[in-house]
């Protein structure tokens, strides 16, 4: 018996390898160093990694532009424009989160390199997901992404809420992973392959007479993804986990999980199961309606800003699903645009929440924000902009994100669905605005403590606001980029 070693195209794997490598190097460094590392060292490593990943992505982009999309490692990993944009989104989210984690670690005395190491490992998982062309690789990415986050969710040992979050996330996440891999197994049984291209080829060239196995497999995969992106009715964990996890971790969770899971979902549904469009579209239709409406309506009742943001991100996930529902290249580009612009905005939002939450990370009642925009116009104003962007107000990038998926939906004939989604945004507007109202209200607490803004976190917030405003005025470049990326999309 002979073993064939698949050919490996290292450029395609470089971002994943760099990120994993950085995680390992950082871990070894901190273990072997005679003295505890200076707090700036892990930050420097993470930022250097992110810069390296973005540079590698630039090389990948030019390679894809010249040679077209390609696969490697026995077609298990794909290098196409879609993956490159996803890679950049993950790198940006990781860099911004690292800035926030740096300051939080110093304040909360969570020293050492563990948090950055785990963040790097999780991000590597997300990077693997955006490039996966095989259900097994999707699963590997998903697990790597999640394992790091399970630990990070419980990192604040002084708060029981954090341990609770970790346990919940771990148990339910474990369930979801099991369901996902079961789905992968059923799809393998039905089509004879776990490779996405092979599945698409098989379904394109064969008539599945008894599709029960395939449908069951696809449904289980969808449940697994639904859990990861917190689509209703698989969202129950997210408010508790968002609330309990250390806030900077929540920011990371909200951004990279969305990027990784949505890009993989687009690949699985649109390219592998594209021929079954008519079967999965009705299911997704229901998911979009439920996710949008439940996220918006239940969000109205929240008094804790982290729970509120959890429901907000459920509502946003509904919009991202909308792009997937279309099953078209335009919809995929819309979802890509959405996650790409949502990631920095949500990290920056959680950065502000981290600062206001204080050293113990407990001041998360919405009342704690009363008058913030009056006391500290820059910090409060930044939060207002970030919230308006998530609300979808024009001149913020959130408007164009919603617009991108809506126009794709209407082009695919989903007028009613688009209307429902947009009306849910109007409901969601109420809770964003209630928060804004608290921010600009007159200051009743005399001498309420000023929230100190450390430099690194301030930079992260600034980047988020800049993304929201600059691309809100001038969305052309990102829109064109997302569209080109989907042209290089490999079915």
């Amino acid at each position: 018996m002979s073993l064939t070693i698949p050919s490996i195209h290292y450029l395609a794997l470089l971002p994943v390898l760099t990120t994993f490598g950085a995680a390992v190097v950082l871990m070894v460094m901190s273990a072997l160093a005679p003295r505890p590392l200076r707090p700036a060292a892990p930050l420097a490593v993470v930022l250097a990694t992110c810069v390296a990943v973005v540079v590698e992505a630039a090389f990948q982009w030019s390679y894809v532009a010249d040679h077209g999309a390609t696969t490697t490692v026995a077609h298990a990993v794909v290098l196409d424009g879609f993956a490159v944009v996803g890679t950049v989104a993950v790198a940006v989210a990781l860099a911004l989160s690292a800035l926030v984690v740096h300051d939080w670690g110093a304040r909360a005395r969570v020293l050492g390199a563990e948090v950055p190491v785990l963040a790097l490992a999780s991000s590597a998982g997300a990077l693997l997901m955006v490039q996966a062309n095989d259900l097994i690789v999707v699963f590997l990415g998903l697990e790597t992404l999640s394992l790091g986050l399970y630990v990070l969710a419980g990192f604040d040992r002084h708060r029981t809420g954090s341990s609770e979050a970790a346990l919940k996330y771990f148990l339910l996440g474990g369930f979801a992973s099991a369901i996902f891999i079961y789905g992968a197994a059923l799809v393998y049984g039905a089509t004879g392959s776990t490779n996405l291209s092979s599945i698409a080829y098989f379904l394109g060239t064969n008539v599945v007479l008894r599709p029960g196995l395939l449908y069951a497999g696809g449904a289980l995969l969808l449940v697994g993804f639904g859990f990861k992106v917190a689509a209703v009715p698989f969202h129950q964990w997210s408010p508790d986990v968002y609330q309990g996890s250390p806030t900077p971790v929540t920011g990371l969770m909200a951004s990279i999980v969305k990027v990784g899971a949505f890009l993989a979902l687009v690949r699985v549904l649109v390219s592998a199961l594209g021929s079954q469009l008519d079967t999965w579209r009705p299911i997704l239709y229901a998911l979009v309606v439920l996710t949008c409406v439940v996220g918006a309506v239940v969000g109205l009742a929240q008094r804790d800003v982290k729970r509120l943001l959890a429901y907000s991100s459920i509502n946003q996930a509904g919009f991202m699903l909308l792009g997937v529902w279309t099953g078209s290249a335009q919809g995929a580009a819309g979802t890509l645009f959405y996650v790409l612009t949502y990631a920095p905005v949500v990290v920056a939002t959680f950065a502000v929440v981290t600062l206001v939450g204080g050293v113990d990370d407990v001041r998360h009642s919405i009342d704690g924000y009363r008058g913030l925009a009056r006391r500290q116009p820059w910090l409060g104003g930044a939060l207002v902009v970030l919230l308006l962007s998530q609300l979808g107000a024009p001149l913020t990038v959130g408007f164009y994100a919603k617009y991108a998926v809506l126009s794709a939906t209407l082009a695919s004939g989903g007028g009613a669905l688009a209307l429902v989604a947009l009306l849910s945004a109007a409901i969601a507007a109420a809770f964003y605005l209630r928060w804004v109202m608290v921010l600009v209200a007159e200051d009743t607490e005399d001498g309420a403590a000023r929230v100190a803004v450390p430099r690194a976190t301030g930079l992260a917030i600034l980047v988020g606001v800049a993304v929201a405003l600059v691309f809100g005025v001038w969305p052309g470049p990102i829109a064109a980029w997302a569209q080109h990326a989907t042209l290089f999309f490999l079915p």
Binding site: P394, F399, Y403, L406, L410, L419, A426, A429, M437, A479
Partner: protein, 498 residues
Amino acid sequence: MHSSWYLAALLVVPLLGALGALAAARTRDGAYRVAVATSVVELGLTLVVAFLYDPHVAGAHTLDFATRHVLAAPFGLAYDVGLDGISLLLVVLTSLVLCLALLGARDRRREPAFVAWLLVLTTCTMGSFLAQDGLEFFVFFELTLVPSYFIVAEWGGAERARAALKFFVYTFTGSAALLVGLIYLAVAHQNQVGGPLTFAFSALAATTLSHGTAVWLFAAFAVAFAVKSPIWPLHTWSPLAYAEAPTGGSIELSALLAKLGSYGLLRVAVGLVPLALVDVRPVVLTLAVVGVLYGSLVACTTPDLKRLVAYSSLAQMGFITLGVMSGSAIATEGALLLMFNHGVITAGFFLLIGFIERRRASYQIHDLAGLQGPAPVLAALFTVVMMASIGLPGLSGFVSEYLILIGTFATHAWWAAFATLGVLASAAYLLWAFQRVFHGRAHGPNEHLEDARVAERWVMVPVVVLVVALGVFPQPVLNRIAPSVDRLVAHEIAAVHP
């Protein structure tokens, strides 16, 4: 054709003024002075543009100062501005209302932010009136919400939080339908003619639609504009918002932002999907007439002056909707004229109520009595504005309502007949309110009410001049707007009776 830079300047000047006002925040009165200077420059510029405007531009269309630049091709986003007779008066109104709000309703609480929001709001409104592209229009239209939300939420009365939220959510919900409708239309247009996605009004108006689709689209557009106008029964946010807003905010909301609704109804709904008019016209006309009658009836019973004006606005907006939907060129011209006149008159009302509120800290009718004795000038000014609103011949309100009624009578006689009752009702509630507030014997603090100060009198001068001038000699204005209106109505008739 004139250079489009004039219109770019109209959009940019208020933004620069807002930045300047914030920069001058540290000096005493600095922000206010910068804002007033900006508003005067803007008004001057607007008047220049209005006089330069040429309604007979070479070629078939009546757009002057036009230009188009695509900003984001995949989204079909473009900067596309132009001025025609339909926008002309509203552009002037935008600058005028800004001046009046700044000069007559000064709010000293955190003034730099307040005047900056007013200036930003002006850019957004101006942009909506100048946009010749659906998506651009939507962006500006939606953007007006942000400054007006903050103006109500931060400077409003006791119930400002509820008022601002209600206002935002109502309007945002309406806009959701508008956005979906616009994208649907643009996609349909792209599918028919190919090429890149575009939202240009001129392109979208040429889309061939089935009858049912046209009705759905019209409904989607009309919901957004009916909330904004407001048109009965989607008006319920407006009395609260008008009453709770600070005087400057009430003026902007009722005199200006309400006009965005009726303008949108004409430009977007009637202009882009005229085919739907066959079916929807009776419905919208009926709602308009109900709005006229309902607004007038409620205005009779309301206990405070601001709400009285809010409900009277509802009635007036009903007249405007009647004219816009009548399918008659004369009535449409009357409606455009009434948009302007109602803007001026309502601004006058809210300014005067603001003056009273400044002195008495109340605008409840039962707190006030016999003000004519101590404040004869104030009473005189109120009389002029009130008479214009009632529609006394010789004042501006009469001309526009008359045009609307005779135009509508020619095309839809019954609706015009019922709407005429609203003219009578307006006389009843306004005169009754005037009687309760200004006549009789003044007691307590009313007895020594200070009369209008010099500055306050000067602010009211443009209002009175416009009310009289447009009442006596409106023909030059009508000549400038008529070609565009004729074109629009011809397009409408061609679609309805092919």
